[in-house]
């Protein structure tokens, strides 16, 4: 096994898998666009009417119909739709009267901020819980954690949000209420990244920072609850698998301390598959934020989507679906690739 050969071999494989990654991702994106196209142009009996509304004149109606290119065959329409999407052209929103793309650019950071804090909490709590449950497999500790994890699959996010608001904001007063910051702090910080915590820290405006954190912590924790459930469950199951391996007995036969058996021999090998799980649940948090944002009046993409839904603003709905879907796919694909790159057994 000369190192030169294995190196060039590895490079070749990396290039190949990178190419495969791009192709599969692109195909999935096109599939995603096919779905949104189908939802927007095929399902509605009259897509024009859904844009202009039923009070429009015949003239307006015809203009929109031509502008949409609805007189052309479906496949041509789809191709030009793909072209539009890749140019960032997502149409006009009837509820904000602005281009959907620029709306989404404005609201996305708020969602990203919440989901990111959510996943940090989720990993920080979920992984140790899962390891703990596996280490005490079959005992009451394991059972309690198991039920807690199943609760994450059974509690409606919007309900937990409401209860959280009542308890921690209205009754206990531990956190601030709905919204991203209190009204008198709004617009004080120049949006550079759009992430309020980072922007305010960059500007050195710590009042805004703490106020924003105070607003963020409750929705992020509630969002995190769902990833804690999923991550703990998967960690437990991976750990049980590991702890049943022969080399765990080897480590014990060496006299290695139990915490070291668990964390070094049991946990280390599962870090790589856990990346996939964390990626999946990060993506799922972006999705879960739709409900949470509605409850917390959080000005993110989820809120934007639900407002658009209620106004039958199809361009905005499809644009938001496309962006959330694309981010979801991208995170999934990246965690998939990371898995293959990081596992020493695949080298």
């Amino acid at each position: 096994m000369s190192t030169d050969i294995s190196k060039s071999h590895r490079l070749k494989r990396t290039v190949l898998s990178l190419g495969g990654f791009i192709i599969v991702t692109l195909l999935t994106f096109i599939g995603l666009m096919a779905i949104t196209f189908f939802i927007g142009r095929v399902i509605p009996i009259d897509p024009v009417l859904s844009i202009v509304g039923d009070r429009a004149t015949q003239e307006q109606y015809d203009t929109v119909r031509l502008a949409l290119g609805l007189d052309r065959p479906l496949i041509i329409q789809f191709i030009s739709y793909i072209g539009d999407v890749f140019q960032g052209e997502l149409g006009h929103s009837i509820s904000t009267n602005r281009p959907v793309a620029s709306d989404l650019l404005k609201v996305f950071p708020a969602t990203l901020e919440m989901a990111t804090l959510g996943i940090v909490i989720g990993v920080g709590v979920g992984v140790p819980l899962g390891v703990w449950a596996a280490a005490y497999h079959g005992t009451w500790i394991d059972q309690i954690i198991r039920v807690f994890a199943l609760l994450g699959y059974s509690v409606p996010a919007f309900w937990l949000g409401l209860v959280g608001l009542v308890v921690f904001y209205a009754n206990l007063g531990w956190v601030s209420g709905p919204g991203r910051v209190d009204i008198f702090y709004e617009g004080l910080v120049e949006p550079r990244t759009g992430l309020l915590l980072i922007d305010s820290a960059l500007a050195g405006d710590w009042d805004v920072f703490w106020n924003a954190l105070d607003h963020l912590i409750l929705p992020a924790s509630i969002l995190a609850f769902f990833s804690v459930a999923y991550i703990a469950r998967m960690t437990r199951s991976f750990m049980l698998d590991q702890l049943g391996q022969e080399y765990i007995t080897t480590a014990r036969a060496k006299g290695v301390a139990e915490w070291r058996v668990i964390w070094t021999h049991g946990f280390r090998p599962i870090r790589v598959p856990l990346i996939t799980v964390i990626g999946l649940s990060y993506a799922a948090l972006l999705e879960g934020s739709v409900m949470i944002e509605t409850v917390f009046s959080w000005p993110g993409i989820g809120n934007y989507l639900t407002v658009a839904l209620l106004n039958a603003d199809m361009n905005a709905v499809l644009g938001a679906t496309l962006v959330i879907g694309a981010v979801f796919i991208l995170i999934n694909r990246i965690s998939d690739v990371l898995y293959r790159v990081l596992d020493p057994r695949s080298r």
Binding site: Y247, T249, T250, R252, G255, T264, R268, P269
Partner: protein, 278 residues
């Protein structure tokens, strides 16, 4: 053989099944001096569980209990889990069947060997590395500097097992339990590994418990033999007296072993009705 190294009396290991607890080891007793003891039996006879029970490594939900389990004057059953850890590896060690599964796949070989040493002795980094290199030389690994940076999947089965032996012998234990140490290896390297174990055990004056399904192999490398069947000892004799074995199960096993200079068309099948039990 004045003071026995290990005294075991009435060891029972049981596992729960849907129809109640089932004993896989049913009242095993033996004493071990500074000698090489072979435990032979077919799979499921409880021989592996006996090996694990000595180190108190029977996993939940399995349970073990014995009237007496004394190692070098230490009552193993009275030890706390913490005290047991000081004995494992340092005084009693175990080599397991298949290095593919018994070595941690995501730790380098070197890190795993060092861990065994570090757990029991306080040494500087340099001294530790020197000990490891020396140990690897003694298990006939010629280029230890390269091998210590490899992952287990990058070494062959025979080398993996030699690494396993080095890892288990580096804290200088008094008793080595070898649980089917060669059955996962190619026939060509089996003998090498066994010779190596034999040589190291003699050199260091250790005791050995060799667990195997292979009667011949055990007879060659051990002083004394226990034949186990269905959780019980059915035969106990000196290795050289094996041909005088009386129990029908042992006789059946012996008859089933092919010989070089024979000319049998068919090897006999064990006639299980010949002795009581299943």
């Amino acid at each position: 053989m004045t003071l026995p190294l290990l005294e075991m009396e009435n060891l029972r290991v049981s596992f729960p099944t849907p129809s109640g607890r089932v004993d896989v080891v049913k009242g095993l007793s033996f004493t071990l001096g500074r000698e090489r003891l072979g435990i032979v039996g077919e799979s499921g006879s409880g021989k592996s569980m006996t090996g694990r029970a000595i180190m108190r490594l029977v996993r939940r939900p399995g349970q073990q209990i014995a009237d007496k389990m004394i190692f070098d004057g230490i009552d193993l059953q009275a030890q706390s889990e913490r005290e047991m850890r000081h004995l494992r590896g340092a005084r009693v060690s175990m080599v397991m069947q298949d290095p593919k599964f018994s070595l941690n796949p995501v730790m380098t070989v070197g890190a795993q060997i060092i861990e065994a040493l570090k757990t029991h002795e306080r040494l500087g980094r340099k001294d530790m590395k020197a000990r490891m290199i020396e140990m690897l030389h003694s298990v006939r690994i010629n280029d230890p500097e390269r091998v210590i940076n490899l992952y287990p999947h990058e070494v062959s089965g025979g080398m993996g097992q030699r690494i396993m032996i080095a890892m288990m012998l580096i804290p200088k234990p008094d008793l080595l339990i070898a649980d089917e140490p060669t059955s996962a290896l190619d026939v060509s390297v089996q003998a090498q590994v066994l010779e190596l174990i034999d040589e190291l055990v003699r050199d260091k004056g250790m005791s050995l418990i060799l667990i195997s399904h292979d009667l011949n192999l055990v007879a060659r490398y051990c002083d004394r033999i226990l034949v186990m069947h269905a959780g019980e000892v059915v035969e106990s004799c000196a290795a050289k007296d094996l041909h005088k074995a009386t129990h029908p199960y042992t006789r059946g096993l012996l008859a089933a072993v092919p010989k070089m200079e024979e000319d049998r068309d068919q090897l006999p099948v064990l006639d299980r009705s010949a002795w009581s039990g299943t």
